[in-house]
Amino acid sequence: MMWKSIVYKEWLKIRWFLIGYTLLGILGIGYLFLTVKHGFAFSGGKNIWNSILFMGHQFFSPLKYVPLLGGLTIAIAQYFPETVNKRIKLTFHLPLRENKALLMMHAFGAVSLLLSFLVFFGMFTGFSLLYFPVQMVTDSIISIFPWFLAGFSAYFLVALIVLEPAWKFRLFYSLVGGFFLTIYLNSPVTGAYDPANSGLFVLTAFLSIALLFSAYRFRKGEM
């Protein structure tokens, strides 16, 4: 019952943002592949392939900041209302463990983001496979994977920052978080992130419980 209520509240907060973001993302990916289709029709498939394989063309590069934007949007939609008037106190007062309540909220947000990303990812892979062989699709996925991780990291970091009670520390977290996000967003050749992706995945997972730290500080009355 309790998790239903928590999910219900989180859903009320993020639903329009999540739906809006997902729809925009779907439109964006649709547009991306429209340009690919157009390129195939006007430049010819072999020239498109050639420019991707040997001239460093990255047809997917417009997607770079899309997951990051999603992480920021969902995190702000979800956690900003909790900090206005310190409303998060209401959550902490609910009859369940504070960390459990937070993790339920956080898991819901992360899963929502994941679903949205899976839609994008599925669309991207599906459309890509229409135009490109597996090797090229795999390399593209290696390149866009860290961008999706950056989306999750941004989500986790915003939760950490928003829940922090002291402005000074919000600034510190933002500094570290902002610089940290850049490691997902280098602009290398296609496929270059291959050796780094598993490490980045682990780092992203590390951040998933970051909000417990600032929420603890909030609960203990740090100012």
Binding site: G44, K46, P133, Q135, V176, F180, A192, L207, R217
Partner: protein, 410 residues
């Protein structure tokens, strides 16, 4: 849980700081290394050294030249300038010179370490080698070699079954062991002629694959036992002397002669493909092989029989050995970078600072943190891990534990 989340955050912060702070430091203090431009002179039988930023021209004895004198010492390089100024000799070492001969013998090759350690495309266009046309056309399909060779048509993204089977059979009959581990060729149609691809199979055998009038041409190339190739760079030189420069995993440079497939070892020492850039200038009289490492440059002159005529080495101090590098090693125990000059891959490139001078700052920061704790009258017992983090990670750890303070209640 809160404590775990803090340690994870401290870890993330240390990693981030170890990436950002050294990067900012070097952006502020690193001085560029200006590598000289070195060529072997067939006139002097010595290397000519051009220091671009200082605008000086000299030989290995330190004798200074004017720009014009310098160019006259390198008639194979600056032949157009010499002809313009009327100072081109008619013959050198008894060989009569004409523009055609000079230009046919000229070759330039350049390879960076980052081109070797880089993602590969995985799909390649196989050109028609004898199309009878003056220009090459980019084919409609691209091949990959997995359990067989597939040709995939770009317009439809479909495998061309017949062609794939034909070429797979040809490879198989020549003893090719699928899949390929290295495929190298010149993928652009802007080349003088097509020589197809050189392919290393899963048993480290070397093959030559071409398409001649739609049919496969496969040649297994004899290589010494146990030789493994780290990299193959196909070349398109006018003299058609060889197909490619080949680099073994032991950093030996080979050439593969055209038509008779002779693998010839070059007596070049001191090249390491993992961290050196290579430049090879060829002309009628010599090859100048220039190996550029981080702290030295080595030039090796070869005669047309590929024997060493002369070598020249110039070293300079690594940035780590300069004052700014020593200060760096005092401040930072290590550096992490996501990119490397020697690779196109993104990795967590970790490098420990030279020496152990950073220990002093670590101890200082640890003492400072200890005092800070002492003045706040907190139990030091609860902060031992933090002190340990500062002891090991130094300035990164110190900033990290203060950005994410250890303030927990029982």
């Amino acid at each position: 849980m809160e404590k775990i989340s803090r340690y994870l955050l401290v870890f993330i912060a240390i990693l981030t700081l170890a990436i950002i702070l050294p990067k900012l430091y070097w952006m502020a203090f690193e001085k560029p290394v200006r590598k000289p431009f070195i060529l072997y002179s067939c006139i002097n039988d010595d290397f000519m050294i051009h220091r671009i930023s200082e605008k000086t021209w000299e030989d290995t004895q330190g004798k200074q030249y004017t720009r014009e004198e310098y160019e006259q010492k390198l008639p194979m390089m600056f032949e157009k300038q010499l002809i313009t100024s009327g100072s081109m000799p008619d013959s050198i070492k008894g060989i009569a010179l004409d523009m055609r001969t000079i230009s046919k013998a000229k070759s330039f090759f350049r390879l960076k370490a980052s081109e070797i350690d880089a993602p590969v495309p995985g799909l390649y266009p196989l050109f028609e080698s004898q199309s009878g046309r003056a220009k090459l056309d980019l084919p409609e399909d691209f091949f990959r070699i997995t359990w067989r060779i597939d040709f995939i048509e770009a317009a439809t993204n479909k495998v061309l079954e017949e062609k794939s089977q034909l070429f797979s059979a040809a490879l198989f009959q020549n003893g090719f062991s699928f899949p390929a581990i290295k495929i190298s060729g010149i993928s652009t149609p802007r080349k003088s002629a097509d020589e197809g691809y050189f392919i290393v199979d899963s048993k480290d055998q070397l093959f030559h694959l071409k398409m001649i009038k739609g049919n496969p041409y496969v040649k297994k190339i004899e290589v010494p036992e146990g030789l493994k190739f780290r990299h193959i760079s196909c070349v398109d030189f006018k003299n058609k002397d060889f197909y490619a420069y080949l680099f073994s995993d032991k950093n030996v440079i080979y050439i593969l002669t055209q038509d008779d497939y002779q693998l010839i070892k070059w007596p070049v020492e001191g090249f390491d493909a993992s961290n050196c850039d290579l430049k090879i200038f060829g002309d009628l009289f010599n090859y100048t092989v220039v190996v550029e490492a981080e702290d030295h440059i080595k030039a090796i002159a070869l005669n047309p029989d590929y024997q060493v005529v002369k070598t020249y080495t110039e070293t300079w101090k690594l940035k780590e050995e300069l004052t700014e590098g020593k200060i760096f090693a005092l401040l930072f125990p290590a550096q992490v970078s996501m990119t490397s000059d020697n690779s196109k891959f993104i990795r967590f490139y970790f490098s420990l600072s030279e020496g152990f001078n950073w220990i002093f700052l670590n101890i200082l920061l640890m003492a400072f943190h200890f005092l800070w704790l002492f003045r706040r009258k907190v139990k030091v017992k609860n902060h031992l891990t933090d002190l340990g983090i500062v002891a090991i990670c130094g300035i990164f750890g110190f900033i990290a534990i203060h950005f994410f303070p250890n303030k927990f209640f029982d």
